[in-house]
Symmetry: C2
Subunit: 389 residues, 2 copies
């Protein structure tokens, strides 16, 4: 359920020092809340420390799409190659731009919430190369020699940290500094995005529970495609873009939103398919997760469903047996990888990624957006879907 | 961690048909979201069904305080004894009142989120006399003969349902129908309330982990008091009142907010102390939870901390051994109850409840609020703290 296998040393598109500025906004936000929480109790210090570490990571992908959705609509009044803008004191300019960076940064808090909860639900040990939040708080419990089960404490902490980042997303977004009416106009997209990603996550859990042993490969494939659409394509790309556009125009839908959909939905699907491939074939050094973790977690991806569909009887049995086995060792991972390759599933997914990326890029051509944003969105499409294995 | 032992057949103050109208707003909200989720997948039907059942319960306490915070500030332009207002088509009047009911109803979504997550964290089997959400989804998993552990599926469902109600809270609040500027002005209270309750819940978990075996009774008592303040006094009473007032005045603080604090904080503490007493001594028919559930969960309440402080060595040992033992039987519950009574802890807590309630009532006298709201808040104070065992 952790759609962040591309979290490693990938070079993203980063104009206007956006990544650094998103990080700075998150730090400022945490500083303010650290003061609030410290006034409540010193026992809250580990909460802030954990969130600081967690939020320090991440490729800032959703903020990038939100920001570029805004610029796509807002025009490029600062000149299309003006990468030094932030250094020249852009934040003091009489413009909405710094507030939009703040609104975009809020999406990292939503993503943090989703990942913290996902990692606990999936029983993942690591995230972004460090212990998952629930493991970190298990260790705090053990280190303190506290009462009760460390696992239960870790679980509660992860649930509550995910909850607080979820409300902080809304807080940072709403109080980003744009006028109340503008924020209000963008709310329908913001609200839809959150309901959709949670619905998608629930469907992902259902898909895993109604796995290949109780469903046909066709049912599994259909479920995997719905999950991709809601949990990834809309959440990661389409909605952030539309959210940014709505912040610029004060309108939640219309031709611009539709054009951004034409780019965002296929690209989002391609992005998730790439992530699924990395979840099976990715290098741990790149993904920050143990090799084959998705196989051990039993993720019912399109990749797996296609393999099941085209498998021989013996391959199908090996797939059903190995998938979701937490004790799956390196040889077992190797066997499943081989089945996924030999059935042609890998090639089919790679082909689909290329096709979806082409569709996304083609949708940019006629879109009513600025030349600069068209160029950047094209670069982002390549970065989000490129082979990294 | 479940501060709802007074959820049973208690008669609350309910003017203007507020409870029914809050329930109706929640139903309308769920209807709209059911349509959205149904368009995504039929697999989401159990999510909406579970939330419908869950949100049907509850005393609507936080909405009541929010509403009366608003009326306290907004004046009583409809006449102080006009209980038939809603029937006479009040919702069609050119006023903010229906939107305020909607904003108040949003607090039930926050509370639902907190309870759904709490019940999972505490391992509680029941809530409001029905299976807890995680148990309900465990049963769905078992009934379907799905793959994997039912408990893990139940956990994931509970986490995601708590997440979705958490975002729906701010969706309903923000889009209640009041002007964007008014909502915006009340946001600081809304945001503070959410951060505080989550901080309080984390501290509650820490308090249980750093229980009587590793902490002195004095440390436990100090922790229990902080938890009460943030998890209950502020969240249940002070902040809902101030939120309502801010929706009326467009100002988040000031003399009115301070006056409402003078009533809300002591009353909120008294309310939680009453809840703690019910958690140990309450009748399951009234509380909707098995007798002595708080003792089995190992809740480190003020009641328990006072008992530990005043216990003989033998009593202290029995308390430490029994508290948090999931297998504690009726006799064990009886013994702990007896210790809590014989040490004088129960009497001390009862005395404290009376004292706090008197303080809250006294704060109403000079408060710059309408006569009607003064009378209703006095009634609410009595209802929230009355003995029900």
């Amino acid at each position: 359920m952790n759609d962040e296998h591309v979290d490693g040393p990938v070079t993203p598109v980063d104009r206007y020092a956006l990544r650094a500025r998103v990080s700075a906004e998150l730090v400022t936000f945490l500083d303010r809340h650290e003061a609030l929480l410290a006034s409540v109790s010193t026992d809250l210090a580990p909460v802030v420390a954990a969130l600081r570490d967690f939020l320090d990571g991440g490729k800032r992908m959703r903020p990038a799409f939100c920001y570029w959705g805004w610029r796509a609509a807002a025009g490029d009044e600062w000149g299309s190659a003006d990468q030094d803008r932030a250094e020249r004191g852009g934040a003091d300019q009489d413009s909405d731009e710094p507030a939009v960076v703040r609104a975009a940064a809020a999406l990292e808090l939503l993503q943090a919430s989703a990942l913290i909860h996902d990692d606990y639900m999936d029983g993942s040990d690591t995230r972004r190369g460090a212990p998952a939040i629930h493991r970190r708080f298990e260790a705090l419990h053990r280190g303190g020699g506290w009462e009760g089960e460390p696992e239960r404490f870790g679980a509660a902490a992860a649930i509550l940290l995910g909850d607080i980042t979820l409300t902080w997303c809304d807080e940072l977004f709403t109080r980003c500094g744009l006028g109340a009416a503008r924020i209000h106009a963008a709310r329908p997209v913001f609200d839809l995005m959150r309901s959709e990603v949670m619905a998608g996550q629930y469907l992902d859990v259902v898909a895993q529970a109604r796995g290949l042993s109780v469903s046909t490969p066709e049912e599994t494939l259909a479920r995997a495609r719905t999950v991709i659409r809601y949990k990834s394509a809309k959440y990661t790309i389409e909605r952030p873009l539309q959210l940014g556009a709505a912040l610029a125009t004060g309108v939640a839908d219309g031709p611009l939103a539709a054009a951004l959909s034409g780019y965002g939905l296929p690209l989002g699907e391609a992005f998730q398919l790439r992530d699924d491939v990395l979840g099976v074939f990715g290098d741990p050094a790149t993904t920050g997760k143990p090799a084959g973790d998705d196989l051990r977690e039993g993720k019912q991806t399109v990749l797996v469903a296609l393999a099941a569909q085209q498998a021989t009887e013996a391959q199908g049995k090996a797939l059903r047996d190995g998938l979701g086995d937490p004790a799956l060792d390196e040889a077992g991972v190797g066997e499943l990888r081989s089945i996924i390759t030999r059935t042609g599933a890998l090639a089919e997914v790679e082909e689909r990624i290329s096709e979806l990326t082409r569709t996304a890029l083609a949708a940019l051509e006629p879109a009513p957006i600025t030349a600069e944003s068209r160029a950047v969105l094209a670069e982002l499409a390549v970065a989000a879907t490129a082979r990294k294995v």
